[in-house]
Symmetry: none
Subunit: 138 residues, 2 copies
């Protein structure tokens, strides 16, 4: 799941998911709250493995995952590849008109452009980029 796209939520609240991502996500996927104010979209299988990990957690720690599940939604794209995002989630990520759809290796993330911009430019900063590559030993 790599790449970056921009699409807008139409008048009926639908968001188009690029074909590239749909291929990898399968035909049903799960949207939930993500880090730093984005939404994360997982494929069926990734979601299942996430559930598995949470269930293996001691109860005390699993408690903090409550909101993750409370704010999750199962989405099935229509024939044109668009999904309907629950109002609650749209609000959390401040998704209004334009949405940035980015690949994040294990999942796809949905961003409000204004929130995404600083994160992207930070990662593009030569110092940070060099540090990141070094971290990977690449």
């Amino acid at each position: 799941m790599i790449g970056q796209y921009q699409h807008s939520i139409d008048a009926k609240g639908r968001l188009f998911i690029p074909a590239k991502f749909r291929e990898e996500l399968g035909e049903t996927f799960y949207v939930t709250i993500g880090l730093d104010g984005c939404l994360s979209v997982y494929s069926d299988t990734k979601w299942a493995s996430l559930i598995e990990k949470v269930e293996a957690l001691p109860l005390s720690k699993a408690r903090s995952m409550r909101t993750l599940f409370a704010n999750a939604a199962k989405c099935e794209p229509d024939a044109q590849g668009r999904i309907l995002i629950p109002a609650k989630l749209r609000e959390y990520a401040k998704l209004e008109k334009e949405v940035i759809i980015t690949g994040a290796s294990r999942c796809v993330e949905l961003w409000n452009p204004e929130r995404w911009a600083p994160i992207e430019s930070e990662g593009l900063d030569p110092e940070n980029l060099a540090a990141a590559m070094e971290e990977l030993g690449f």
Copy 2:
């Protein structure tokens, strides 16, 4: 991956990858942002090992890798060995018409000629070259 070539991006945004590199890169490869304003091209296997390393990273560090994935693209050359470079990446590396394609041992790099020139002449400078060789203990 060694050598240096120059090719131009055609009217449809396609860039020709020399046969020498295609042999080593395989038939699907990954283009992403590189250091000093170039683009890096990795083979399927190199990319897979990169993913592996990122997924092993603690979440806090993996987060800073977001831009790396958002600004990456999977490319499959057409029957003539050309790839389509996403506009976003082309912009990052300021690739317009002419492109320098260089071997960088582990990957192939794509450069705007004007950005490449100072880097090459710096590396060609006898003093720097000698210093670099010495660093290697060669």
